[in-house]
Each structure stands twice: as C-alpha cells, then as structure tokens.
C-alpha cells in the first residue's frame, strides 16, 4: 500500500513540525520542565535544546521515526476502510503533540506555591480567632439574655429561654466575626 505524493508531502511536513516537540519533551528532564514552565533559566534550557536540535542527525531521526509510525498507523486505518485523506486526518489528530508533562508541571507548581505560602502560625491564629469570638459571642449573648430576661428570679421560671436565645445569637455573631478575621488574614497574604 503506497500513498499519493500529496499525502506523502503532508506527512513529511507534519512529522517535521511535530517531532521537534517530542524531541524537546524527551530531552528535558522533569526539573527542567518545571523551570521552563516557571520561566527560570528558560534561555539556558532553550540554548541546550537548540544545541541538541542543531545536531540535525538526531532531529532527522526523530522526524523519520514519526513519519514511519504515522505511515504504519495510516495503513492500518486504510485497511479498516478509511480513505487516504481520512486516514491522514485521523493520524494527524492522534499524533499531534500534547504535553502531559506541562499539565503535571502546572499542578506541581501550584502545589509547591501553596506549600511555600502555607504558614502553620496563620492557621493557628485563624483557629484562635474563631474560638475567641465564639467564647465572646456566647458569653455576651448569654449575659444579655440573662439580664434582659429578668435576672435570677425569672431565669428559674421561664427566663432561661432568653439566656439560651442570647447564647445562640452570640455564637452566630462570634462565628461571623471569626469568618471576617479569617478573610482579613487571607487578604493580607495576597
């Protein structure tokens, strides 16, 4: 099974373009990929890759490998009933370079940044703010409820309900204040 000249030319062009990306990927170490993504020593890595790609033999080999792989795949597709053009389009779609490492590097970077920014003291402070405001809210709310309900005499009859309501409202106010302090700490970090 042979291909038309037009398709052959397209295949060669595709292999020439795409093999370069695969070659870069294979040549870069994981750390280099991370640095590449973060922009550090980009020029240094680029220079190294250029030097590597400059060795035309390596680049040409990668191109030929992709060309042969593509032709094998297309022949397989054509045996299954696809036309030459359809097989080419499908192979092009399947073999187009999509970097997995870029995504994982991205994720790694985000994790690294998160752990870098993470300060245990801040989390402790946030927790203390919540607890402090909650205690304040409950105690002040309960006191207002207790006094507003008529003090000790009324508490022993039906006045305890006012104290309970005051404590509950105080707890909600305390939580609200805790949330605000949390937000303030987060915004300060930005």
């Amino acid at each position: 099974m042979t291909f038309s000249q037009e398709i052959k030319d397209k295949m060669v062009q595709f292999a020439k373009e795409q093999s370069q990306y695969y070659l870069d990927e294979a040549e870069m170490t994981y750390l280099e990929k991370l640095r590449w993504k973060t922009g550090q020593t980009r020029s240094k890595i680029a220079a190294k890759l250029e030097k590597f790609k400059g060795r035309s033999e390596t680049a040409l080999e990668a191109q030929n490998d992709l060309l042969l792989y593509m032709s094998d795949y297309m022949k397989d597709l054509m045996e299954k009933g696809l036309s030459e053009e359809e097989a080419f389009e499908r192979a092009k779609e399947e073999l187009e370079y999509r970097s997995e490492s870029e995504r994982s590097a991205d994720l790694h970077e985000r994790f690294a940044r998160y752990y870098e920014m993470r300060d245990p003291a801040e989390y402790e402070a946030i927790g203390l703010f919540y607890a402090g405001f909650l205690f304040f809210g409950v105690s002040i709310g309960a006191l207002i409820g207790y006094l507003g309900g008529g003090g000790r005499e009324m508490f022993l009859t039906d006045g305890w309900i006012d104290t309970a309501i005051g404590a509950a409202v105080g707890a909600v106010i305390g939580l609200g204040a805790g949330l605000i302090s949390n937000a303030v700490i987060v915004l300060k970090k930005k």
């Binding site: 040549e27 080999e61 490998d65 042969l68 032709s71 094998d72 795949y73 397989d76 399947e94 999509r98």
Partner: protein, 113 residues
C-alpha cells in the same frame, strides 16, 4: 492509570524479541491497552532511546527512511528487572490490602451471626 507502568510493559514487549514502533503499539492494543493515545508509544520510545535502554538496528523501509528496530541492551534488562521487582512489591501490598479487607468483612459478618 498507565502512568509509570507503560514503560515497563513496553520494555517487556521489546525483551521478547526485536520489534519496531508501531508493532509495539499494536501489541499493546491486542493486550487490552485500548485507551492508549497513538502518540504515547512514539514519545515513550524516544525516551527509552534517550535514556539508552535500547539497542537500535536500522533496516530499510518502503517509505524511504530506515526503520528502527529495538532490542533491550544491558541497561534495559536491568531496568526491566527493577520494574518487575517494583511491580511484585506493589501488587503484593495491594493483594494484602484486598485480602485483609475481606478478612475484616468475614469477621464482621461472623460476629453478626
């Protein structure tokens, strides 16, 4: 799902006899690795070559450029052995977990009875 496993699988395929890129992809499909992207094997072979785990023989092809045939070299054989050692350890751990889960289940159902 195949991350970290595929390289070992490809090394195993190559260890069974001289083979070339697309033939490896076909074998993988036959083995049931259906969801594998076509570009994966090509990229992986480039990596194996870069890491000097394979010996390459070039033979003429009908397309013009020579076709690369892969065989494991000494480093490749060592890497494959290391892969199977890691695999045995991991699958042992997972099997233990599975069995201990079943035992716990049996115990719980036994206690109920």
């Amino acid at each position: 799902m195949y991350k970290g496993v595929l390289e070992g699988v490809v090394l195993e395929i190559i260890s069974r006899g001289e083979t070339y890129g697309y033939e490896i992809a076909k074998k993988l499909h036959q083995m049931g690795f259906e969801g594998l992207a076509e570009q994966t094997v090509y990229a992986l072979l480039l990596r194996l070559e870069k890491n000097r785990l394979v010996h390459i023989t070039k033979k003429p092809s009908e397309m013009g450029p020579p076709r690369k045939f892969y065989r494991l070299n000494e480093r490749g054989v060592e890497e494959l052995a290391a892969f199977w050692a890691r695999w045995d350890y991991l699958s042992g751990c997972i099997q233990n977990l599975r069995n201990s889960g079943r035992d716990d289940g049996d115990l719980q159902s036994g206690n109920q009875g």
